[in-house]
């Protein structure tokens, strides 16, 4: 299916190790933010998930008698992404099961890196979400570890301890309850952007995610098209639905999903126009799930659904070979 364009080609230093190493570096700010806001337990969750991923990948590749490629770092990324998608108080077996399922079933059984239809980390997360729903939706956040009192870099209001994610509060009690909880709208936006809200450990700090994302853009590991089109679509649609667009893009897993999961090479369309369709679809599904479904958040489900549509998008939207005439911009083969 992958079509190489007509020569000349430019040699690029990028390979799998280069891309994966850079993605791992780009996830460090979010990792630091998770430890800063949720304490050492967040770090333990992340370490355990990464170790599970590496172990599962090695075991599966040995079992299937394939070359062991765990050093390329893709397994570690899956593990870290699973940990980022866990609530802070989750029992440790939940990320272990999620990571193992993602690596063993979704990645290795489908043929390893490059053959998985769905994002392994997200399938793992959605699986444990429906396996242990109470654990996955309990947000009794020990929001401020002690050192925040000593290193209160952003002058965080230490009294605002949240019990539910802002999106859940918005869904159940409305925007006004949320604003009164944070004091003012500006505070709400600011704290959401910094990451001082309830939520999964890696998703709350949009600032940290953005730092990592711009590092990836500067290294040309990912392209900004999908994330920004996705976020803009969510903003426009929530505004049309009469919701607060700024609040919606700064809450939940939108930034984490848009920059680190919707940009996965394997499960996203290959052409530019294909990615646009993909990104708008993501935005549309996220808004529908957030506003019209029973759950407060829908980023994971949107990305998985659009992962499933990616082969179809790639089939319908193809690169036209230069100089070849075709009806309606499509070539039928």
């Amino acid at each position: 299916m992958l079509k190489t364009s007509i020569s000349p080609h430019i040699h690029s230093p990028q390979n799998i190790e280069y891309a994966m190493r850079n993605v791992l570096i780009a996830m460090v700010p979010a990792l630091l933010a998770s430890v800063y806001f949720f304490g050492v337990r967040a770090l333990w969750l992340e370490i355990i998930s990464i170790l599970t991923a590496i172990l599962a990948e090695t075991l599966m590749q040995l079992l299937l008698r394939k070359p062991v490629t765990v050093s390329d770092g893709s397994a570690a990324i899956t593990g870290l992404l699973v940990a980022f998608n866990m609530p802070p108080n989750i029992p440790f077996y939940v990320p272990v099961v999620a990571t193992a399922l993602g690596i063993i079933v979704v990645k290795q059984l489908f043929g390893g890196l490059g053959h998985n239809i769905f994002n392994p980390a997200l399938v793992g997360r959605v699986f444990v979400m429906f396996a242990w729903l109470p654990e996955m939706t309990t947000w009794n956040v020990p929001l401020h570890p002690d050192w925040i009192r000593h290193f209160n870099l952003f002058h965080i209001n230490l009294d605002s301890i949240t019990s539910a994610t802002p999106l859940a509060v918005n869904k159940l009690q409305g925007m006004s309850a949320l604003v009164s909880q944070f004091g003012s709208k500006t505070q709400l936006y600011l704290q959401s952007f910094l990451g001082n809200t309830g939520g999964c450990i890696g998703e709350t700090s949009e600032l940290a995610i953005l730092i990592g994302a711009f590092y990836l853009f500067s290294r040309k590991v990912i392209w900004p098209t999908v994330p920004f089109v996705y976020i803009i679509t969510v903003a426009v649609l929530t505004a049309l639905m009469g919701q607060d667009p700024l609040f919606h893009i700064l809450s939940g897993g939108l930034f984490l999903g848009a920059f680190f999961m919707a940009t996965d090479y394997v499960t996203t369309p290959m052409t530019l126009s294909g990615s646009l369709v993909y990104a708008v679809g993501l935005g549309l599904l996220t808004v529908i799930l957030r506003l019209k479904s029973g759950l407060p958040e829908g980023v994971s489900f949107s990305i998985l659904l659009m992962n499933g549509l990616t082969p179809l998008i790639d089939k319908l939207i193809r690169v036209r070979t230069y100089g070849k005439q075709s009806k309606r911009g499509r070539d039928h083969e």
Binding site: Y93, V105, L109, F127, F130, A131, W132
Partner: protein
């Protein structure tokens, strides 16, 4: 020897679920508890034996062009018998299996055996074939139900109408395993394992 072969081929070598991949609909739907799997297996086996006998008996009188409607009439008769018997004597099972009892009429294992086997073979062979296929189906659906119930509910239920036991398994129940995705995941992985060993044999 060949008679014995007719009987045993349905259990492993031509297992209707794992090798012919027929009858997946009830397999996926009712395999949430071990006892439901066994119940479904027995119900389907009864229908299979009855319809195989009758179709084999009348195979020379059925006009070729309308053979499928004729098979359906025979099968539906036995399904109605099963439906009423379960409703009368084993109501909890009847309630649990629900719509999947009438749907045995269009279960591809039964229609498939009628079309592929009973319509061309003697009565005795058809009975042996039906018993083998029925056991194969029951074993497969029970295996899937066992895995799903242990992981999804943390129990093993072998209890009906107050008889039998329920075992507790020290597992943190994963709700998703008793939902449809758990069924598809279980059957997919089992089929993968079986195909892996089948390829090794060759």
């Amino acid at each position: 020897m060949s008679r014995w072969n007719e009987l045993t081929k349905g259990i492993i070598k031509e297992n209707p679920i794992f090798f012919i991949m027929l009858g997946l609909c009830p397999t996926l739907a009712v395999s949430t508890k071990v006892i439901y799997g066994i119940g479904m297996g027995i119900a389907a086996t009864f229908v299979l034996i009855g319809s195989n006998i009758f179709i084999s008996l009348i195979r020379n009188f059925i006009p070729d062009k309308i053979r499928i409607p004729c098979y359906i009439v025979v099968i539906a008769t036995f399904v109605t018998i099963v439906d009423y018997i379960l409703n009368a004597y084993v109501q909890p099972l009847h309630k649990a299996l629900g719509i999947y009892i009438p749907l045995i009429v269009v279960n591809c294992i039964i229609l498939g055996r009628a079309e592929a086997y009973a319509g061309q073979n003697t009565v005795l062979n058809s009975i042996l074939d039906a018993i083998g296929m029925g056991i194969g189906f029951t074993l497969a659906i029970t295996l899937i139900a066992l895995i799903r119930e242990i992981l999804g509910s943390g129990t093993i239920t072998l209890q009906m109408l107050g008889y039998g036991w329920v075992w507790e398994v020290p597992v943190k129940p994963m709700t998703i395993m008793v939902l449809p995705p758990g069924a598809l995941l279980t059957i997919g992985i089992l089929m993968g394992i079986i195909n892996h060993f089948k390829q090794k044999e060759k």
